[in-house]
Symmetry: C7
Subunit: 77 residues, 7 copies
């Protein structure tokens, strides 16, 4: 467990993640890809995460969504 | 589906995308080009997307528009 | 039509463009030059663009004006 | 004791740390990894730190959490 | 006329320019030097520019002044 | 006396310094390390500095604290 | 007179300068050193500058002070 930040992203490909942004919003989806700037691609998740849905301001995406890395505060697996 | 962020942009060339900016605005158009900074070129879309038009603050462009990448929050396909 | 962002700028040399800035202002002029940071040079336009003049906060420049790229949101041709 | 910032992070692997962010929040967890941008990975801590729990706005994480380095103000061991 | 941004600065050496900053202030002086970051050096101008003096928030410098480039919005010749 | 900024940091290793941050806070401690980004490591100081303690918003640290350089305004020896 | 920004700093070593920051404050002291990021070192000035002292928000330093370059708006000689 653990490892460097990009190793954790690599291990999380196709897994559901929640990406919290500096503007207070968050996106929940399957991690489709990433790069060294922490730009990430989210794909619609197969199933909702009840815990995450209960969080304020978390949006479940329904389109492939590229998030530019400089907006990211945290990525939670 | 999925892939790294720039792969998704490459696959979206000439497709309609919505680009959401840090200032709360968004632009809807056909992706004419991009570079590694996520600077993007939008061209007027051939047809309106009813779903997107219903969103607040989304503008359908009517001129070739270059968006500087550091303004981008998300690009949705 | 289309192409990468710097290709669009190259094709727009000596053409009228509108440059929208992060502070809400915009400048209308002929594109005199640019570089890879999207720093741009605007020259006074030969003729006014009635559509652009109708927009709020668009200023028609009357001196050669260098705009530092990190202020730019969009450049419209 | 002491050493360069990345040496201190290296020495703190698997140890509990508190990461304070620019938005006023903080995360408490075990340091799972880091990189040269001070992107860090936090893992759930084995035990709570009573002192830290008493601090305002410190959250004990319960999922692997990547924090993008540009949000960080301080990391305390 | 025209040219890339740094070419315009090179051609403006020893000429009066107005440098507008992100904080709303502006400085009027003779361009003494510049570098690739658009850091600029202003020297006191030999003569006042009546037009510029009429503008709000433009200051005529009376000491050699280095302006760090990341504060610059526009440089007008 | 004097010297380049990193020379001054090198000369201040193990000495008490006060680091003022962009958010208005400041930390007082012994300089344990630094790097070229002005990321710094502060260690608990052996003795309090009465002058510094009188300053508003200066905190004497009691844990090894890494401060990410982009938060720093000044470092005073 | 004039020259590139770093040439002006080189020529100003050991001379009194006023450094204005983005947060509205300013520091007055002798320029002890600088680097290519415009990080600067100020040393206590031998004598007060009556003109500068009259300015609002200018502080005469009494300790060696490193200022991180990204806070700087202007450096006046």
């Amino acid at each position: 467990m653990g490892g460097r930040p990009l190793d954790v992203l690599e291990a999380s490909l196709d897994e559901e993640v929640t990406v919290h942004l500096k503007d207070g919003r968050a996106f929940y989806g399957a991690l489709g890809g990433y790069d060294q700037h922490m730009n990430v691609v989210l794909e619609p998740a197969d199933e909702a995460d009840e815990d995450v849905l209960g969080e304020l301001d978390v949006e479940q995406i329904d389109n492939t969504t590229i998030i530019r890395g400089d907006n990211v505060v945290t990525i939670r697996t």
